[in-house]
């Protein structure tokens, strides 16, 4: 082992112990390391894993300007008033051209000024399209290991299919604005399928009743046994989640698991129409009205989120969700590793651009190039396997 590696290991040791000791700087530094995929970040996350699993992770998603950041601020404040500690990760989009980003969610965090027990971290999506960055779930682990009771994950302003948050959060909250009736229609196949709790924010605006009614109708349609029990509905759910994972090249087991789980609560619910699903076997998504700027409805939202957390604990869904999350994480890590290996091989052959030139000149074609680049890797794996 080189000296550099030696030093790296000591630094990781120190970082982990400082983080577990509750040092804010160490937590901040750990998240940076995770975000940058710096040398040693894997070791870091592995070491933190044993200390995770205690926090409630709440995802907040919804279209840009729906009030996600403001609501996160008010939720954080409500949890602090209960004496709980809070971690927030707020993701904003990155430029597809320069990779740069303006991270503006922090501006809304007015209620928790000077309170270091609300640890707020802005993250850029760094080119990811699912509404979260690749590093988000690892950063959640760092907050969890640090000992945060509640972790709020705010996604990029979402359109239809930014559904990655399902794979990071225990409870998914979808924000909808009143008067977005047409949007509601449009969104139906995407993010509206992943909500455990729906929040109609800006409930002081016109059109709130209609939006609430539309959401409730959508939820009840989910619960209509004739329409939902069999593969039709599950199929739709599966498809919805799949479509959000464009680079998911492996089997979709993990996504399936969570998608079916989501559907599972809806299916067969007996339509009691109550938002309190904690006592029943199935969770029926609740609709809550809030005015995030004034804090109206936030208490009710906190109660609903707590009811969902109870439901997850009592039904065993919490563990089930965690398992499918880890399965997906394993796949994701393997994909990244395989991608890195492929990139190395591609660079060794002069990079994709130079190979593309030959393709453009009709000397070869993309499939032939891909086969050629991939062949040594495949051969290597096959001969290893035979040797076993």
């Amino acid at each position: 082992m080189s000296h550099a590696e030696d030093r790296g290991e000591t630094r990781t040791d120190e970082l982990v112990s400082d983080l577990l000791d509750g040092k804010h700087r160490a937590l901040a530094r750990a998240i940076t390391k995770i975000e940058n995929r710096s040398p040693g970040y894997r070791e870091l996350v592995s070491r933190l894993h044993a200390h995770t699993g205690d926090a409630d992770v709440i995802g907040i998603t919804g279209s840009p300007g729906a009030g996600k950041s403001t609501l996160v601020d008010k939720l954080a404040k409500a949890y602090r008033e209960e004496g709980l500690t809070v971690g927030v990760i707020a993701v904003d989009p990155s430029s597809p051209y320069t990779g740069g980003a303006v991270l503006g969610d922090r501006i809304r965090m007015a209620s928790n000024v000077g309170d270091m027990d609300v640890f707020f971290r802005s993250m850029s999506a760094r080119g990811q399209l699912g509404g979260l960055s690749t590093a988000t779930s690892d950063a959640v682990k760092a907050l969890d290991a640090f000992g945060k009771d509640k972790i709020l994950v705010e996604t990029v302003g979402a359109g239809q299919n930014e559904v990655d948050v399902v794979r990071t959060a225990d409870t998914v909250t979808v924000l909808v604005q009143p008067g977005s009736g047409d949007d509601v229609q449009m969104l139906k196949a995407g993010i509206l399928e992943i909500g455990d709790v729906f929040v109609v924010n800006k409930a002081d605006m016109d059109g709130v009743n209609r939006t609430v009614a539309e959401l409730e109708e959508m939820i009840h349609l989910r619960d209509n046994p004739g329409a939902t029990l069999d593969s039709g509905h599950r199929g739709a759910g599966h498809h919805g989640v799949d479509a959000g994972l464009p680079d998911d090249v492996s089997g979709h087991g993990g996504a399936d698991g969570s998608a079916n789980g989501e559907r599972g609560h809806g299916d067969g619910a007996d339509g009691d129409g109550e938002s309190d699903g904690a006592d029943s076997a199935e969770w029926e998504p609740a609709v809550v009205e809030t005015v995030a700027t004034s804090g109206d409805g936030v208490d009710e939202l906190v109660e609903t989120l707590a009811a969902h957390a109870d439901y997850l604990a009592e039904s065993g869904m919490r563990e089930e969700k965690a398992r499918s999350r880890y399965a997906e994480e394993i796949r994701q890590l393997l994909r990244n590793d395989a991608n890195a290996l492929l990139k190395e091989e591609l660079d060794r052959r002069g990079g994709a651009e130079s190979l593309a030139e030959a393709v453009a000149a009709r000397e070869t074609d993309p499939y032939a190039v891909a086969d050629e680049v991939f062949e040594p890797l495949r051969d290597c794996v096959e001969s290893k396997r035979e040797g076993e």
Binding site: S95, R106, G114, G127, N336
Partner: protein
């Protein structure tokens, strides 16, 4: 393939906090800087207006920024900047944060700010390119 994967596993991005501190309500300059930094490929956290020094410290520590750009047009730099620097020291965040001040700062105040630990002061009319180059060349390298 995602942009992530194309850039390989390790990705180091310059993170900046653009902070408006104190009572002045003019943030056009801060917006322009934030936008220019974004276009330079940096990740920019914007604090919003009227922040207290403690809030800036909290943000700089939690966001673990490489660069803290403090915009002050009110003339209160001699009271506000030391408070921020003391706060950063308290959280061990002073040593590896590049601190810049932008805005209206009289020439005679500049040496004192630099003595405190401000790396550079950029007055009105500084070409954006110059500021970006300065950040590129001076942002602390860490891993």
């Amino acid at each position: 393939m995602s942009a992530d994967a194309e850039r390989g596993q390790q990705q180091r991005t310059v993170r900046c906090l653009i902070a408006k501190v104190g009572l002045d309500g003019h943030d056009r300059g801060a917006h322009v800087i934030a936008r220019a930094f974004r276009d330079a490929g940096f990740e920019v956290v914007y604090s919003g207006l009227h922040r207290a020094p403690e809030e800036i410290v909290q943000a700089a520590v939690q966001e673990d920024v490489d660069v803290l750009g403090i915009s002050i047009l009110s003339g209160a730099h001699n009271t506000l900047v030391p408070k921020i620097i003391d706060g950063l020291k308290e959280y061990d965040a002073f040593e590896d944060t590049l601190i810049l001040v932008g805005g209206i700062v009289p020439d005679e105040d500049r040496p004192k700010l630099k003595e405190m630990g401000v790396s550079e002061v950029f007055g009105p009319g500084t070409p954006m390119k110059e500021t970006i180059e300065f950040v590129r060349n001076n942002a602390p390298r860490r891993d």
